[in-house]
Amino acid sequence: MHTADPAARWTVEQVLALAPDETSRRAGSNLGSAGPWSGGGCDGSGAVWGLCKGSGSKPYRTVVDTTGPAYTCSCPSRKFPCKHALGLLLVWASGASALPAGEVPDWAGEWLTGRRKRVADMGKKGGPTTGGASATGPADPDAARRRAERRAGRITGGAQELEQRLTDLLRGGLAAADQSGYGLWEETAARMVDAQAPGLAARVRELGSIPGSGPGWPVRLLEECALLHLLDSAWLGIDRLPEPLAATVRTHVGLTAPAEGPPVRDHWLVLAQYDTPDGKIVTRRIWLYGRDSGRTALLLSFGAAGRAPGLALPVGVTVDAEMTPYPGAGRLRAELGEQFGVPSPTGTPPPGGTAAAAIGAYGDALRDDPWLDARPVTLREVIPVPSGGGWQLVDAAGEAALPVAPSALSRPGLWKLVALSGGAPITVFGECGHRGFDPLAAWSMDADAGACGVDADGVEISSIDTMSEIVPLI
């Protein structure tokens, strides 16, 4: 088991990634030095606490459980985590002596004990995580079935309506879609939300942005319309589809089945975490890689109307936890179950492969899921190379190249990737698909990575790979 030493610290970047928005990030940074803090400390269970001097006479009491991570603070802020929690974590991350290892004081202990008991209870019960029908299932299976049928009926109505819109569009010509602009698509998307088919709604909204996406948009618009039509047809004929494909179709339409099956316990390395706006909600995607199972898992978390999604895992930490996969779409999406012990701040990169293999694997995956835009992959020994106005990732030992996806070209992370490589081969994790490769994380081969020489279980790390540090690119 884990030693009683203070839990390994996170990096500044990892802490700042938890901030719900730029304002909090800034405010948190301002509190990220020892100055305003007193009575603080940390312990081996991953708890960090401190008193922050505010404008009032009483200091705020801030406690963070880094295993969650979970936060509590006596300040009135509705941001989550609040600037005090961020500041406290920054002080902790910078290793300042203001937070010595010690005993949890009473004012912090109460919340910590309560929280940990709740988590443990949830684990015992099986909770929603291990996904038995007994835990989540309602009392009346008949009523549930009737509700499901009603919803399926609504989706079918939506799919038919969407089919009609697509047919009308093709009849009149895509050239006309250029003029009709966002409004038409927004309205259609709203109809799909009413039809309880969020998957269809998201795809329709996507269509709205294509006419403004630069040269070649008619081709892209036709492709996406055709795939949406394919999804409509598949839903309307779902009874005739084999089960795995039917599950994939349900997932894409937005009819999510609960996570099921035996949970996979593993040491999961957090590869990437990023948010994308999706209508009025924000979707957070967290990619994880299981050290022993070799599986890649995707955690989704949603935040409504300007609030950050609840789940946050800093990139680069490894969590010992159970994951329960959702059915459909390659079973990548999973639900985070019980966590064991304190996350460790290091991890080994996935083994990875060549650029040539990555694009081939994407092609193969389309057999099971023709709507797949991209799949997660680790590229080993690739070199970022400028090409025309864009960039490529080129196999160091070959001539195969993957173009970097257009969306990634304007992100600062691209330049981090180039800087890390310095023209030499590098390991990169990202999403590989028909738009190209979207780099999300890279491993620096610098000896200055600053990783500890000991992994979560106290085993000494000797290989050069494991000494390298993951650098988030998004």
Binding site: V12, L169, L170, P218, H229, A400, G422, D448
Partner: protein, 530 residues
């Protein structure tokens, strides 16, 4: 589901889709539904059959950087400082008690460079971005970024600034290889040649002069000006002949720069000529029984004066005689005056009364001469005693001129002079003078600033009237002072005549000062090689 065996070509489908199937039915009929079926099949087929692209030409790998990596704590700190810089908003309002991290970047970089660390690759983009928006960071940031930073900047047009200027050390040939140097000098771009000349001059002044002489007559006037300017580094008697020739250059700017450089060489024939002219204008005299300075400004600016760089036409609003006098005295070696005034020291000469109201003009010219010739004795004399109000002292009342004079004095003396000045006159005029004091402030300067701030607080003014000095104190006070300053962070009872709430703001400002000092000492510790 599509069952078509030979689908219509993709281009046909796109054309039909663009124009609409009403106007242009898809090949094989089937209307919109058939078109979408065929397009879906095409799309999935195309995506499933995607092949890797062919690789573009690979860039040259970045040159190796042998410097040691940063200690982990220092690396985390740099990430924090740079992350704070890029975070928008927040400024403008009350400054609060937390340190301003952005202001600590210059100090962090300077210390890291002193230790000779290599920059972490992942932070290079934010480092270059920081240097792009703040020109004052550039020299230190680029030195720290090193060869990999320069390599990276070459790939991103936004960082083109990094390739300009003389800091592109790795792009220049080794200055000890005469052939490579000669080739770049002959064929290089203007900026490269300026950088090259600078590098050679630093290495061997005489060699740079020889290099410049090879092409001097064929250079364009504005280039000649820049090249001539490079000779400031390592200027010596060896350059005199060349500079004398440059005095008859076609370009007026080149002539006056040559004259300026020559005037910094007291042994030169030029200096002697100027001294002769100046001595005919300024001479010892008697006012009553007392020794004094009598001044007879020149009546004309003859051709030989013009050749020596004296500008004949004064700026509007200035008399031409005093204008000429100023230029003559400015270019005259200061040692001349000691001989002229019977072996008197600088201090005594400056103390002499000047006849006919020429004092201001004469002292101002002496100030310029002291700055140009970097003469501490004269600078000291012209600055006078710090406790005398600037308007009554010798030399100049201008703070800009005074800070230039101060910069010539030895570091410790500078700090002491400014400390006494603050003790006598308070902080309101001290900002510019503090700027030339070496950091961290040596005692008694630090104490003097803190005492003055404390006095300002007791006087009941608001701290933001002193925000410039406060900011300097945060960056320049010795971090070891933090503990002594702690007592000032409490909020004492407000005196009756104080501005409302001022005490709270003062305690906040002092808290920020203390926490910034603590942070600076933490930064220094983190950068010590482990």
């Amino acid at each position: 589901m599509p069952r078509t065996v030979t689908p219509a070509p993709w281009e046909e489908l796109v054309t039909s889709a663009l124009l609409g199937t009403d106007r242009r039915p898809a090949e094989g009929g089937g209307g919109p539904g058939g078109l979408l079926d065929a397009a879906a099949l095409h799309t999935v087929q195309r995506r499933a059959g995607l092949l890797p692209a062919s690789a573009a030409a690979r860039p040259e790998p970045a040159p190796a950087d042998p410097r040691p990596p940063l200690p982990p704590a220092a690396r985390r700190r740099l990430a924090q400082l740079l992350a704070d810089r890029s975070a928008p908003g927040g400024s403008g309002g009350r400054r609060g008690t937390a340190p301003d991290l952005t202001e600590l970047i210059p100090q962090w970089l300077a210390t890291a460079n002193q230790h000779g660390y290599r920059a972490p690759a992942a932070l290079l983009p934010s480092l270059l971005d920081a240097a792009r928006s703040r020109t004052d960071l550039r020299p230190q940031a680029l030195a720290f970024a090193g060869p990999r930073g320069l390599w990276l900047a070459g790939l991103n047009p936004e960082w083109r600034f990094a390739l300009r200027g003389s800091s592109g050390g790795s792009l220049l040939p080794d200055v000890t290889e005469p052939e490579a140097v000669a080739r770049l000098w002959e064929e290089g771009l203007f900026a490269e040649r300026v950088a090259l000349l600078g590098a050679v001059r630093t290495h061997d002044p005489a060699e740079a002069l020889a290099l410049l002489a090879t092409t001097w007559t064929t250079e364009r006037a504005e280039d000649r000006l820049m090249f001539l300017d490079s000779l400031r580094t390592g200027l010596s008697g060896v350059d005199e002949t060349f500079l004398e020739q440059a005095l008859s250059d076609r370009s007026r700017n080149v002539r006056s720069t040559a004259a300026e450089l020559l005037s910094a060489l007291p042994e030169s024939a030029f200096a002697e000529r100027m001294a002769d002219r100046a001595m005919s204008c300024v001479s010892p005299g008697l006012t009553g029984d007392e020794a004094s300075v009598s001044v007879e400004a020149p009546h004309e600016c003859d051709a030989s004066m013009e050749r020596d760089g004296v500008v004949a036409v004064p700026p509007s609003g200035r008399g031409e005689r005093s204008w000429w006098l100023g230029q003559l005295v400015e270019a005259t070696p200061l040692a001349t005056w000691s001989v002229r005034f019977g072996g008197r020291a600088a201090q005594e000469i400056v103390g002499l009364p000047v006849a006919d109201g020429w004092a201001e003009e004469l002292h101002a010219a002496w100030c310029r001469a002291a700055v140009r010739q970097r003469d501490p004795k004269w600078a000291r004399a012209l600055l006078g005693t710090p406790s005398v109000p600037p308007s009554n002292g010798p030399g100049t009342a201008s703070l800009a001129e005074r800070s230039k004079l101060l910069a010539i004095l030895p570091a410790a003396e500078r700090a002491e002079w400014v400390a006494d000045f603050i003790a006598a006159h308070g902080l309101s005029e001290a900002f510019q003078l503090l700027g030339v004091c070496p950091t961290p402030w040596a005692e008694p300067l630090g104490r003097s600033v803190v005492d003055a701030l404390d006095i300002a607080r007791d006087a009941g003014s608001y701290p933001w009237s002193f925000s410039g000095v406060m900011g300097l104190a945060e960056r320049c006070l010795n971090p070891a002072e933090a503990d002594r300053l702690e007592v000032l962070t409490t909020t004492p009872d407000e005196p009756e005549d104080a501005s409302p709430g001022a005490n709270g703001y003062w305690s906040e400002a002092f808290q920020r000062l203390v926490s910034t000092l603590r942070l600076r000492s933490a930064i220094d510790l983190e950068l010590i090689p482990g």
